[in-house]
């Protein structure tokens, strides 16, 4: 709860706490092979299926939905899946008792939250970068050109991916903190997170009209996907319909900041699940 001045000074240095908890997330993740496989395998399969299936169907006049179109969206999907599954583990941490041990340690709550979020974001980044590499490889081997871009743009894309990962992991933290079962989380996953991805411009083109278009425009994830399109598809696709790069950065950074604040605030609350 609220910490008085005297109690905050009695906490241990916060950054080693953040580091150690983030490190634990990574170690755990790579020890569970099926998690690695699932988080990377599913989006790759989706990408290949969407690209192959929809690539032959022409939608609209000349806007082709192919591997190129689906690449940035699939990248965001990888980030989403990994980030979300990384924070789902807070429910396991609670059930398995690990979290109780952390809660009674003299660490500030924000450090505990940040360790969890950065750990999840790091896992997402590892996978995102692997996928990025696969995309480059596809181009290099001459199968299909996914990206046409400079090293600097790739670097910028990676930084943007990090921002998106942090936003999504923090979002997952907010959702998972008060939950006491992973089943509940799966329900949220299907009714909230998957539609959020579908309506982020990752799947449909951005300029769909009507209420779907409105949702696409207020969805902060849209700007992450659009930002990645700017960096990865410059010169391949027509990007004029996308929001400007500056807007994409601004919204993504704002999204991450808002989610971190929300996660920090919710981490200060106690949940009945603390008492399992």
């Amino acid at each position: 709860m609220s910490q008085s001045i005297s109690s905050t000074t009695a906490t241990v240095p916060a950054w080693p706490v953040v580091g150690t908890l983030a490190q634990r997330e990574l170690v755990r993740f790579f020890r569970q092979r099926n998690r690695v496989f699932g988080a990377l395998g599913q989006p790759i399969i989706f990408w290949l299926l969407f690209g192959a299936g929809l690539g032959t169907a022409r939608i609209g006049a000349d806007d082709k939905l192919d591997y190129v179109h689906f690449f940035p969206g699939t990248l965001v999907m990888i980030l989403l899946f990994t980030a979300i599954f990384a924070t789902i583990s807070i429910i396991e941490d609670r059930r398995e008792g690990f979290l109780q041990g952390v809660l009674v340690a003299p660490v500030p709550r924000w450090a505990m939250m940040l360790g969890k979020v950065l750990g999840g974001a790091a896992i997402a980044m590892v996978q995102g970068i692997v996928f990025l590499f696969l995309g480059w490889l596809a181009g290099a081997l001459g199968w299909f050109s996914v990206m046409l871009t400079t090293p600097l743009a790739v670097f910028a894309a990676v930084v943007l991916m990090l921002v998106i990962s942090i936003a999504l992991t923090a979002l997952g933290f907010v959702i998972a903190w008060r939950m006491d079962s992973t089943q509940g989380f799966h329900a949220i996953m299907s009714v909230f997170l998957l539609p959020m991805w579908l309506l982020s411009g990752a799947f449909f083109p951005m300029d769909v009209g009507g209420w779907v278009g409105a949702i696409v425009r207020i969805n902060p994830l849209t700007y992450g996907v659009a930002g990645l399109r700017h960096y990865l598809q410059n010169g391949i696709s027509d990007l004029t319909a996308l929001p400007s790069l500056a807007i994409c950065w601004l919204v993504s950074l704002g999204f991450a900041a808002a989610m971190l604040v929300a996660a920090w605030r919710i981490a200060g609350t106690r949940s009945t699940a603390d008492l399992l």
Partner: protein, 337 residues
């Protein structure tokens, strides 16, 4: 030895919604003692543990741990507190050493201090050879040792444990108590534990007996037993009901019938044994004399059998499997009369 008490609680109260878990609890634990909080399930001892461990906020009353106010300085309390939960709190996907390293950092340890302290704790608890094993591969007894190593890693002055012997076999439990005694004697660590096991509480320096959220007795095991005053005589017989009636008739005392035996609580029990046998030579199959146990203490102070789930119901015999068959049982209500 510091003179400051390890724990000071005054008028502590806690409720979960409508349910009152702790009522008006006042007690003091001295530094360097092994202190057991004894009570049946639902007596409030786990709630007390949660409040003291800073897992849940203090609602009403005062509590000081090692001189720090639990309400105002929870972080200062946490630094000096080693906590071992009843449920395991280790990360099963990590090795024993990794678990300790991570938790050490949560308590501000780092670098060489941390590794040497980890090795030291593991060898003190006799699990140095399992250092690189994943926790999920360890037995329950070994995991509990890792839990304790984790709790003691930052050299706390107070070790707080919730039902530490749950799931341990007698040998492992005995090891655990040897360790408690060792840290108390060598390092002056105060050990506070909750338990629902009567024979376990017996090994503590002092016992707080809790019942329905209240403290009903607080003393050394010997003093608590002495307070019951007298000896317990148990008579086995073919027809216990009629024997009890005859004894009551003849000696004007109040025997109880518990299961298939007659039970008497009397001062100077040894003098009664020849009198009883001479009076009813044909009815008595066997007769035993014993000093009061902690269960007798519990019945004496609460008027309820320790193991009964519904304390007011005489007929209900608890089927708790943990109950040892040797533990003497008594009827509930009658003991008060």
């Amino acid at each position: 030895m510091p003179t400051q008490p390890a724990i000071e609680i005054a008028q502590l109260a806690h409720r979960y919604g409508e349910r009152e878990a702790i009522r008006d609890l006042t007690l003091k634990v001295s530094a360097g003692e092994i202190f057991a909080v004894l009570g049946p399930n639902g007596s409030g001892k786990t709630t007390l543990f949660r409040v003291l461990s800073t897992l849940i906020p203090i609602q009403r009353g005062e509590a000081r741990i090692l001189g720090h106010d639990l309400r105002c300085e929870p972080q200062a309390v946490r630094r000096q507190l080693g906590v071992v939960f009843q449920a395991p709190s280790l990360d099963k996907k990590l090795t024993v050493a990794e678990n300790l390293i991570h938790f050490g950092r949560l308590y501000g340890l780092a670098g060489r201090d941390l590794t040497s302290q980890t090795d030291e704790m593991l060898s003190r608890l006799g699990i140095a050879d399992r250092k690189r094993d994943l926790v999920e591969k360890l037995s329950g007894g070994l995991r509990r040792r890792v839990e304790i190593a984790k709790g003691m890693l930052h050299q706390p002055r107070l070790l707080l444990l919730d039902e530490p012997s749950t799931g341990l076999d007698p040998a492992a439990r005995s090891d655990l108590w040897q360790y408690f005694t060792k840290v108390r004697d060598q390092d002056g660590v105060t050990v506070v534990l909750t338990t629902h096991l009567l024979d376990e509480a017996e090994r503590a320096d002092r016992i707080a007996v809790m019942h329905r959220g209240q403290l009903v007795a607080l003393d050394t095991p010997a003093a608590l037993r002495a307070a019951v005053g007298g000896d317990a005589i148990t008579i086995r017989a073919a027809d216990v009901e009629s024997l009890a009636a005859k004894i009551a008739d003849r000696f004007h005392i109040h025997p109880q019938v518990v299961d298939s035996s007659v039970r008497l609580e009397l001062p100077a029990g040894h003098e009664w044994i020849p009198r009883l046998i001479e009076a009813f030579p044909d009815h008595i199959e066997s007769i035993t004399l014993g000093k009061p146990t902690l269960e007798d203490v519990f019945i004496h102070v609460t008027g309820h059998r320790f193991w009964s789930e519904l304390p007011t119901d005489n007929e209900s015999v608890s089927h708790n499997t943990r109950r040892r068959t040797k533990t003497r049982r008594q009827g509930g209500k009658e003991t008060r009369r």
